[in-house]
């Protein structure tokens, strides 16, 4: 049934996005890229996919400018799609940007807390998380004003309301604020895709639920792993776990009690994928713990985070097997982001002449 009227409003967008997906770099492209000797070679290899955007780069550009230019392409394409989206798809895409918005607002909060000129920070904000009223936030000079303007001016108000007060912004670590917001955002997004009349019961809900559940689990596991050895208490940690996902509620409860990597492994044992990830990471990481991409100290086994990325990419890839769903927009953005990360990584490896780790990128096509 959902397919009957989907194309009336969203067919064009779907077509465009599928076209963009075909523009993503494939394994063959990546293989060519890893053979490059210099950034210029890399630029040449990226020519077909990113031509116009890389044209303005000087010879041998820095990796950060390369990353900025590739992001520019994503942003401009996203804006084009967003401009053509109507109805619930438009809202869906707005939801997509909220995640970046949270990062930007967190950045501005940091700036305000340290009494910096927040206008300088606007350039550093992620362009996808840009909203019209963002410069207004820079007017605020103290945290209370900022809090009020965030509530009034941004779509993030519901995420602040109820869980954070302006005192909290002052007292809590900015990372806790950010993760609280993100948790609220994920829950809201999840609720949105499952409750909106246009999406409930459609492939969109199915695809997005899978992606968001995975995202929620990933955050829960990451927060747990990263909080070991910090002053984050277990009770506070529990508050940062999103209240849905494959691990919820037993897994998250166990995660909240975990003290070490072993505890995390036990907590996620109920889900086959995570279990295999943990086992692989546990074996690969050795006694050093979960062993995320070891900081140059050896250990070329894949880290847990790598595997999560890999899994996310696979889910995103699978989203394209479905038709009549908004999920492909989300999946396309994620795939594109990963592509930018891959390019940056390869460029870094080439720039630093560290070819042995160059194959650490994640390619799914």
């Amino acid at each position: 049934m959902e397919g009957l009227f989907f194309n009336v409003n969203n067919g064009y967008i779907e077509g465009i996005v599928r076209g963009y997906r075909n523009g993503l770099l494939t394994s063959a492209n990546y293989t060519n890229m890893t053979q490059c000797e210099s950034i210029d070679d890399l630029k040449l290899q990226l020519g077909p996919a990113y031509g116009d955007f890389l044209a303005s780069l000087p010879p041998n550009p820095s990796t950060s400018s390369l990353a900025a230019k590739t992001t520019d392409k994503l942003v401009s394409e996203f804006r084009y799609v967003r401009a053509n989206a109507v109805g619930s798809l438009a809202k869906f895409m707005d939801y997509l940007t909220y995640g970046y918005m949270i990062d930007n607002v967190a950045l501005l909060i940091t700036g305000t807390l340290h009494e910096r000129d927040t206008r300088e920070l606007l350039e550093r904000c992620h362009p996808l998380g840009w909203f019209e009223t963002m410069p207004v936030l820079c007017v605020a000079t103290n945290i209370e004003e900022l809090y009020n303007s965030v509530l009034i001016e941004t779509p993030l108000a519901p995420y602040f309301k109820g869980s954070l007060s302006h005192q909290d912004l002052d007292e809590l670590n900015i990372e806790i604020v950010r993760n609280t917001l993100y948790k609220n955002y994920l829950e809201d997004f999840y609720h949105f895709v499952n409750a909106d009349p246009d999406m409930a019961g459609t492939p969109t809900a199915e695809v997005m639920s899978e992606i968001l559940e995975f995202e929620a689990d990933r955050r829960a596991i990451n927060i747990t792993l990263n909080s070991f050895g910090t002053e984050l208490s277990k009770a506070d940690r529990k508050k940062l776990y999103p209240n849905f996902g494959l691990l919820y509620p037993e897994g998250t409860l166990m995660l909240s009690r975990a003290d070490d990597f072993e505890g995390v492994r036990l907590a996620v044992e109920g889900v086959q994928d995570y279990k295999t990830f943990c086992e692989a990471a546990g074996l690969g990481g050795g006694p050093g713990g979960p062993g995320n991409m070891a900081g140059g100290t050896g250990s070329d086994g894949r880290s847990l985070e790598d595997m999560f990325y890999q899994k996310e990419m696979e889910i995103s890839k699978m989203a394209f097997t479905r038709q009549f769903t908004y999920g492909i927009v989300y999946a396309w953005v994620k795939l594109r982001e990963q592509e930018i990360r891959n390019i940056t990584w390869i460029a870094e490896c080439i720039a630093q002449n560290q070819k042995e780790r160059i194959n650490n990128y994640i390619s799914v096509f």
């Binding site: 990062d103 940091t110 950010r178 990451n222 995320n292 070891a294 985070e305």
Partner: protein, 264 residues
């Protein structure tokens, strides 16, 4: 004689000769001491050069690893976290102490690094994703800074030692090539002057002796001549004047003798 000009302005006396000899001895002792100091410093200097070389190579490796781990952070976090890190850092975690080391009288500063415990300002950065990479990156950079500090203390020592060695070598050379030859020249000069004086004195004495001899000889000759003349006169006038002369003479002599007697 080139050394003639290059000597100290002293009067060539025995006293200044003694002074000069003492000075020469002092200069030689000083020279050997300074030479030894310079050698010790040079040894140290070479060692430091070697260690700087090592440290620089190590530095290259560590920095490479560190910047790669920063790339990893960028990859894992998927964005720029620099600002956040900058703002959340409140107090220094990595600190250095400066100490002084004494190498043959030269004070070399050495830096010792240490990390303050429990000062982890951005432990929660990247809590959602990439936190471990951030921590690991921090550790690698801490190692890099450690290498940097080591290198810095070596470099400082290098510069200071270089300066000191130059000064010491200059002194050694000055003593060896200026002070000692000059003192030797002075001694030689004093000696030669003294010899000259000696010779002069001798010659003078000889001259005086000669003259004296000559004078005596002349005196003798004159005396002789006089005597001869006298004798001749005496001999010629003896007959006619004998009576007259002897008479009054004897009288005079007698009178004088008598007078003396009278006076006493």
């Amino acid at each position: 004689m080139s050394g003639a000009a290059d000597r100290e302005a002293v009067f060539p006396t025995r006293q200044s000769l003694g002074l000069m000899k003492a000075k020469l001895k002092g200069a030689e002792t000083g020279h050997s001491l300074l030479k030894r100091k310079s050698e010790a410093l040079t040894k140290r200097f070479r060692e430091i050069t070697r260690r700087i070389d090592e440290a620089k190579r190590k530095m290259g490796r560590v920095m490479q690893i560190a910047s790669l781990s920063l790339a990893e952070v960028t990859y894992a976090v998927g964005g720029n976290i620099g600002y956040q890190i900058q703002e959340s850092a409140k107090s220094a975690r990595f600190r250095i102490r400066a100490k002084q080391e004494n190498v043959s009288g030269v004070l070399l500063p050495t830096f010792e690094s240490y990390q303050t415990e429990g000062n982890n300002d951005f432990a929660m950065t990247g809590l959602g994703k990439g936190g471990q990479q951030v921590q690991r990156c921090r550790e690698t950079y801490a190692r890099a800074v450690e290498a940097l500090v080591e290198l810095a203390s070596l470099q400082t020592a290098f510069v200071i030692l270089d300066e000191v060695i130059k000064v010491v070598n200059r002194r050694v050379n000055a003593i060896e090539h200026v002070i000692i030859p000059r003192t030797e020249n002075t001694i030689k000069y004093i000696n030669s002057e003294l010899d000259e004086l000696d010779r002069e004195e001798f010659y003078r004495l000889k001259k005086v002796a000669n003259k004296k001899q000559r004078d005596t000889a002349a005196g003798d000759a004159e005396m002789k001549k006089k005597k001869e003349e006298q004798d001749k006169v005496d001999a010629s006038g003896q007959e006619n004047k004998e009576q007259e002369e002897t008479g009054p003479t004897d009288i005079l002599a007698d009178a004088a003798a008598e007078d003396e007697d009278v006076i006493f």
